[in-house]
């Protein structure tokens, strides 16, 4: 762990109950969901973490509890530090508070999480789908969403796939 990060993670452990660990050479802190906005405000104001580079989410499957982890990556440009925050969120009605008050660029990243994972963001000024069409149903990046692929038609299954293709005037 970078020496400059030591006092920072100690402050996080003391105030917000973070569990800090070193994952693949990067420092990671697991923060409960109710403390995340206050944590980011502290990091931005007191410890000069001015850049939020990524908000993403991971779905650990229907069996895991909590099901989703939201991952925030904060960068400090002045001290060249790198910190990852993980927020576990449960599977039923997943919801996180918005980060747009602290970092303006969280706007589209939270829209992407809502679009692809279905994790509702409370207090977001403009929560709607970003990548999928407006009227799409379902959240594609969840583990229980079907892949949506089309079975390729080889010579051994030519006839059975042919049954599901359009015939008649619509046929090409």
């Amino acid at each position: 762990m970078n020496k400059k990060l030591q006092p920072i993670v100690q402050a996080l452990e003391k105030e917000f109950g973070a569990e800090v660990s070193d994952v693949f050479g990067e420092t990671q802190a697991v923060i409960p969901v109710e403390n995340i906005v206050a944590t980011c405000e502290l990091l931005r104001d007191k410890f000069s973490f001015g850049l939020l580079s990524m908000i993403t989410a991971v779905d650990y499957g229907l069996q895991a509890e909590p099901r989703f982890h939201i991952i925030y990556q904060l960068n400090s440009i002045t001290d060249s530090l790198f910190l990852t925050l993980r927020v576990p969120v449960s599977g039923e009605n997943p919801s996180i508070p918005t980060m747009t008050g602290v970092y303006k660029n969280a706007n589209w990243r939270e829209r992407e999480i809502w679009d692809l994972f279905g994790i509702h963001v409370e207090g977001h000024p403009d929560l709607r789908r970003l990548l999928m069409p407006k009227d799409w149903e379902g959240y594609p990046l969840r583990k229980d969403y079907p892949l949506g692929y089309e079975e390729p038609q080889f010579s051994f299954n030519f006839d059975e796939i042919d049954l599901s293709k359009p015939k008649g005037e619509l046929a090409l």
């Binding site: 990548l131 999928m132 069409p133 799409w136 594609p140 969403y145 079907p146 892949l147 949506g148 692929y149 089309e150 390729p152 090409l172």
Partner: protein, 168 residues
């Protein structure tokens, strides 16, 4: 334009010095359509780079009549769908196809426009022929500029063989 082998009258021998030739209406109209077919700018993804390369100086498409690419569908004859079409883009593509004036043709350039390519999933339309009627499919990922020009030559053959009875 084939003169002697079509068995025309000796009219041309008489009028040749006056600077007149005779031909059929089919040939004349098809000649006009192929020699000045202007494509519509519809580069969506990586195939667009190869389409640009085909239009640029080295592999010049202007020598085949495609002098420039108009982004406006009202002024274009040919829609080269270059790249993968996502489900969000599909209604837009159909809208632009409907806005083109007759006669119009469609070339599906690349694997993603022909059949979905490597992207066999929920977000990509599996072949643009689900949305618009396609005349020529050009395979490749991406097809080389020469391959696209080969596809355009094939389209010209198709247009040259069109008969008066098929015109809308």
């Amino acid at each position: 334009m084939g003169v002697e082998e079509k068995g025309r009258t000796g009219l041309e021998k008489k009028m040749g010095e006056m600077g007149m030739v005779t031909t059929t209406l089919e040939e004349a109209v098809n000649w006009g359509r192929t020699r000045s077919m202007w494509p519509m700018l519809f580069g969506l993804a990586c195939c667009a780079i190869e389409m640009m390369a085909a239009q640029a100086a080295h592999y010049d498409m202007s020598r085949f009549g495609m002098e420039l690419m108009r982004p406006s569908p009202r002024q274009a004859d040919l829609m080269i769908v270059a790249g993968r079409v996502s489900r969000k883009m599909a209604p837009v593509l159909r809208h632009l196809y409907d806005q083109m004036a007759e006669p119009k043709w469609v070339i599906a350039m690349g694997d993603c426009a022909s059949c979905g390519g490597v992207f066999n999933n929920y977000a990509v339309v599996q072949g643009v022929d689900e949305i618009v009627p396609v005349d020529i499919y050009v395979a490749g990922c991406p097809p080389r500029p020469e391959a696209l020009i080969n596809g355009i030559m094939a389209l010209y053959d198709k247009v040259n063989n069109q008969k008066v009875a098929d015109w809308t």
